[in-house]
Symmetry: C2
Subunit: 282 residues, 2 copies
């Protein structure tokens, strides 16, 4: 089996590592426009060979593990060139515009829109981990537009990566993910900014910040290029979620200003219900 991976970062690198573990007959071809990432991946046996996306060979699967705006640019070009036996799978964090960009493409049925709910705040092939996808959810969108036998074979691969499969409409995906993922990245980046702007003296942050701050600000270490691309692609729902977030903060601020301990307690007790929800997150 020949697999091409475009984008050798955290996601692309982790898929490569795991696939090689589950099937040592798989040959992994990798490409990254960052030559350091490509060289590192070859040297460390994350991939077996390099390839040029301009001259594709007869891959069984091509994974696109690049920023979402690049997926939109590359996907059409790649679908133009592939054979009927190849399935192209994108792994971006937004799905509607990507699906929409190829909805009338002749080879639409050779494409599968996927979003692995897995990641860390680190990026690049050094951050790749072979067990990144273990016990994680893979969301597949608009599967009715993918050739059934190619779809089923891809699901087998995701299961080998240790994943559970969920299917979802692409617009629904983008709307929900704005709240449960994209919003938390922005809240974390902005927390980091607010504290850094205020605290010129880094030593003060070291001394006074505990594990709570570290946990809340962790996502502010994430890749700017990846996230700016997502924020713009999913602008509509992200802005909606940000407006609700700001409204909630303003209301909470008013309760603090008014010294309204009773309503602060009531509000926070309700939010404590997140404990039960979080128990479900692996």
């Amino acid at each position: 089996m020949k697999i091409g991976i475009i984008g050798l970062g955290l996601i692309g690198g982790s898929i490569a590592l795991k696939l090689k573990e589950v099937n040592n007959k798989i040959i992994i071809y990798g490409f990254d426009q960052n030559t350091d990432s490509l060289d590192y991946s070859l040297k460390n046996n994350i991939i077996d060979k390099r390839f040029n996306p301009d001259s594709l060979i007869d891959f069984d699967y091509i994974f696109l593990a690049i920023p979402v705006e690049s997926i939109k640019k590359q996907l059409k070009i790649i679908l133009d060139k592939i054979s009927k036996e190849t399935l192209v799978i994108d792994l971006g964090s937004t799905k509607y515009q990507i699906c929409n960009s190829v909805k009338t493409h002749n080879n639409r049925s050779n494409f599968l829109a996927a979003h692995p709910i897995a990641g860390t705040e680190f990026s690049g092939p050094l951050a790749a981990q072979k067990d990144l996808f273990n016990n994680k959810v893979m969301i597949l969108c608009e599967t009715e537009n993918t050739n059934t036998s190619l779809l089923l074979s891809a699901i087998e691969i995701f299961k080998k990566l240790g994943m559970t499969i969920k299917t979802m409409d692409s617009l629904e995906h983008d709307k929900h993910i704005a709240y449960v993922s994209h919003l938390s990245h922005i809240s974390s980046f902005m927390l980091g900014k607010t504290v850094m702007d205020k605290e010129d003296d880094e030593q003060t942050i070291y001394d006074m910040a505990g594990s709570g701050f570290e946990s809340t600000v962790r996502l502010a270490k994430s890749s700017p290029e990846m996230w700016s691309s997502i924020f713009i692609e999913n602008k509509k729902y992200i802005i909606e979620s940000l407006e609700e977030y700001i409204l909630n903060i303003n209301n909470f601020k008013k309760l603090i200003e008014g010294g309204d301990q009773e309503n602060l307690n009531t509000e926070m007790k309700k939010i404590n219900g997140i404990r039960e929800i979080l128990k479900g997150i692996k």
Copy 2:
């Protein structure tokens, strides 16, 4: 040595556990207005005996590990009753108003204002851990107003808990801590609220939320009573930090609305500098 602990939650319980480990001659007397917490602490040997704060005995140290508004109420009453040999130590997350409330008290020198930068999102004596304070920072405020020999003996105890000591002006403490701790609690509570309000279907949150969301929303599990008390006590600086936070979010939102990827990248790259700062947090 006789030690009284008022408030047998995460902090009070953890101090009790560690003190008993480092010196088995210490007798720990505990009180909590929640009789379940008191009974649990006795039954599980977190404390040795119960005591009534209305009739204090000759303690060497009394720790106040209760919400900050309760500290303000109790501290004066306790200072009225103690002997010259007793040191009362409060462990609240705000310091200025507490220090101010006893600044002219006759026994002011028998009081030490302390803030351990340690905690988890869990509360109550079940959450107590004997190594909670290990390698953590203890901030002491206005130490010039504490009797020197009592102060030095308290520092010895904190070192036995595994802590590093920092001293700070109480107003400076409250200002900085609003940014590096209190703000992150509010951002996390409000993230939890925004997602829960939107996602009626909890299954969607389970399926789509990853470890990033979990990390960012972790503090939304914290105790409402403890935190409403802190938010109101440190209102001035918390509101200042919230206003800056909202301003930053609004500016970031405008960049997203305008599709300004270049400035989004520049902004996030700067914030990525938090990586180096976080390395310093234990």
